[in-house]
Amino acid sequence: MDLSLSPEYEAFRDEVASLLADNQDKAPTQNDRGMKNQKRLDWQKWLIEHGLAARTIPQDYGGYGAEPDILKSRIIAEEFARTGLPKGIANQGISMLVPTLLELGTEAQKQAYIRPTLHGEMVWCQGYSEPGAGSDLASLATKGEIDGDDYIINGQKIWTSTAKQADMIFCLVRTEPDAKKHHGISYLIFSMDTPGIEIRPLVDMTMNANFNEVFFTDVRVPRDQIVGEPGKGWQVANATLTHERGMLGDPNAAKTRLLAIAELMQQETINGERLIDNPVFRDRLITLQARVYAMQANGLRVMSSRIKGESAGMAGLIIKLQGCELNHELARLAIDAMGEFGLLYGDTPYLRDFGAWQAKYMYDLGLIIGGGTAQIQKNIISERGLGMPREPRPAAV
């Protein structure tokens, strides 16, 4: 057990810190809204050039081209958190499509898409879930029929975030109707400007349209806009799902959230008594603090495994389930501490923290469900982690 950093890494931290300190005037601010705001794009370009974003993506494809080094990535993340400067763009194109193309794309696809995606000039959305294909994603029914050199796509996707802003979509489509369900899917990439695509915002319980429904009516996509072989889309998609699960549930975020609640409980009073002075509330806070620290220690353990190139095993499998649940419960404590004030939501007097705790409380419930529900996570933990048998398939009716 050694949680210290070697001099090489301490030097790297100093280097990152001074780089950020010397260039903070380049960073976009709250006023620089919009995904393609020029100041944001310039900042992203500068970050990539200095190895602070797209760090391990080869230079040939527009990245910085460093050797993967988890500790350095962590140091960079910590320095962004410490300085409060905006870190590199994080979106589904960068976290999911780029790794997929690097692994399975053709050279032409890599050349065409990775660079603009990394630089924030090309925004992607993900077309996986359908109304009839959630946890059982492989039962998806959006179909792509061959017509000359094109696929003609018809069907519907749901839970598509950033569909309105996206230039492109990576999309799972059933192209081999006669194959078994996991073997009839292809991974297609195409422009969101293609005729026949309709986007309808999907308002969720937060009363925002964080997601959309996307409808395809005779959408014509060239057959070479496929990643991997026809019918192999399930394997292609699974490569990216792995990336998504790793992305959700950040233990440092939970620690920040806990400290914010402790602060809130020292500010808020009821009958003149601070909430932190109420033993019941205080006990809830410390109970959650223990879970936050446990997830932080677990995160360190997972990181150590990855540095050594080993599987983190059970410690890795439980992150999504436990991390999302913990964040949700932290938000619940904050709301309980505010009592009736915790109900305020929207433009109204007495609002605390812009209503962020209610927004988190609801949105985090979405995260517990999205990206593999808690129940699916438990299946994965029990099957892959504990070696328990799969639920037998019912006999065909």
Partner: protein, 360 residues
């Protein structure tokens, strides 16, 4: 930067697990719990041969000079086998003597502990929380009063006592100490009431400021109890998974039902980060990290909660058999139950964590 165990730590833990597999199988634990003292002594002797008494003793005093993380790994192995052992009291006596004994006192006692010439029990419960007005006071080298939940005193030659101010004293387990053993749920552990009547004792007089001395012992004790629960809970999870893979109902192994799988997944999902928390807290103490004291409180209280959850859930996965004496799962259930209360129930330990952070 590495968060994990060294090869040496793994090997040491494995050697203890291996020894306990052969020396302390459930039948033997059962015999000890039913009063088979000789069997219990055999296990303790075997553990002594493996060097357990030397682990925390500094090398200059004839020990191995290892840290609390190493001790935690040993305690995890002991918990996983529900082994009767006096490692906990020995370790805590070493922590007390080393941190607040004078150089002379350390040189007097630590080599003897490492050599197995003396055996320490521990009477410190009242410093954490006194019930029925119990407690021990010290005056001119004489101890008076009672300690209700002293640990590992049955075969002890000496006992380390915290007085009501939190200063530490050593007394011989002789006629001056009346001992009355408790019947508790956890028969793998030795808990007894000790009554001191002007009992001759020696105060540890190094840095023995009131409070500081006992706090260090309590901190190490809480950490080791948490580690014991990690081990016991892991065994209960393993047994539940094993049982669920074998037991058939409705022509299927019950482990193929999602209702059962999800219970097992929940146990694993709670236990895995909890283990990392205990290791992290132990390391923090070894390295004198700022957050060490808070982390130990969090580890103790958290393992009390998730230990309780796993004890209950594993029993349920075993169905009716989990409830029987025959299967013996209850030994782990009770060990986890005991760990929850000893040196502070979770509510009290969380209050300590709040106090340490200026929140109470």
């Amino acid at each position: 930067m590495e968060f994990g165990l060294s090869d040496d730590q793994r090997m040491f833990q494995d050697s203890i697990k291996g020894y306990l597999d052969s020396a302390a199988p459930l039948d033997t634990v059962r015999e000890v719990a039913d009063g088979g003292l000789a069997k219990g002594q055999d296990i303790v002797s075997g553990l002594t041969e493996l060097g357990l008494d030397q682990v925390l003793v500094p090398e200059r005093h004839g020990g191995l000079g290892l840290g609390l993380l190493d001790a935690a790994l040993i305690q995890e192995a002991l918990g996983s086998a529900v082994a009767p052992a006096n490692f906990l009291a020995t370790a805590l006596a070493i922590v007390g003597i080393e941190s607040v004994g004078t150089d002379v006192q350390q040189s007097e006692w630590l080599p003897k502990i490492a050599a197995g010439e003396v055996r320490f029990g521990l009477a410190i419960a009242e410093y954490v929380g006194a019930r029925e007005g119990a407690g021990v006071t010290a005056s001119h080298g004489l101890l008076s009063g009672k300690s209700l939940f002293a640990m590992d005193t049955q075969n002890a030659t000496h006992v380390l006592v915290a007085d009501t101010n939190g200063s530490l004293h050593i007394a011989a387990m002789s006629e001056g100490v009346a001992r009355c053993p408790h019947a508790t749920i956890d028969r793998t552990r030795d808990l007894a009431e000790l009554v001191f009547s002007d009992t001759a004792s020696v105060a540890l007089t190094g840095e023995n400021k009131p409070g500081i001395a006992a706090n260090r012992v309590v901190q190490a004790g809480r950490l080791l109890l948490a580690a014991d629960s990690v081990g016991a809970a892991q065994t209960m999870l393993d047994k539940a998974v094993e049982y669920a893979k074998e037991r058939k109902q409705f022509n299927r192994v019950i482990g193929s039902f999602q209702s059962v799988k999800h219970l097992c997944a929940e146990m694993a999902a709670h236990l895995e980060p909890a283990r990392a928390l205990v290791w992290h807290a132990a390391h923090a103490v070894d390295e004198n990290m700022d957050e060490a004291a808070v982390m130990v409180c969090l580890a103790k209280s958290h393992l009390a909660e998730i230990g309780t959850f796993i004890a209950r859930t594993s029993t349920e996965v075993h169905g009716g058999m989990g409830f029987t004496d025959l299967v013996g799962l209850h030994y782990w259930f009770k060990r986890i139950g005991a760990n929850r209360q000893l040196l502070g129930s979770p509510e009290r330990v969380r209050e300590d964590a709040a106090r340490l952070q200026g929140w109470a």
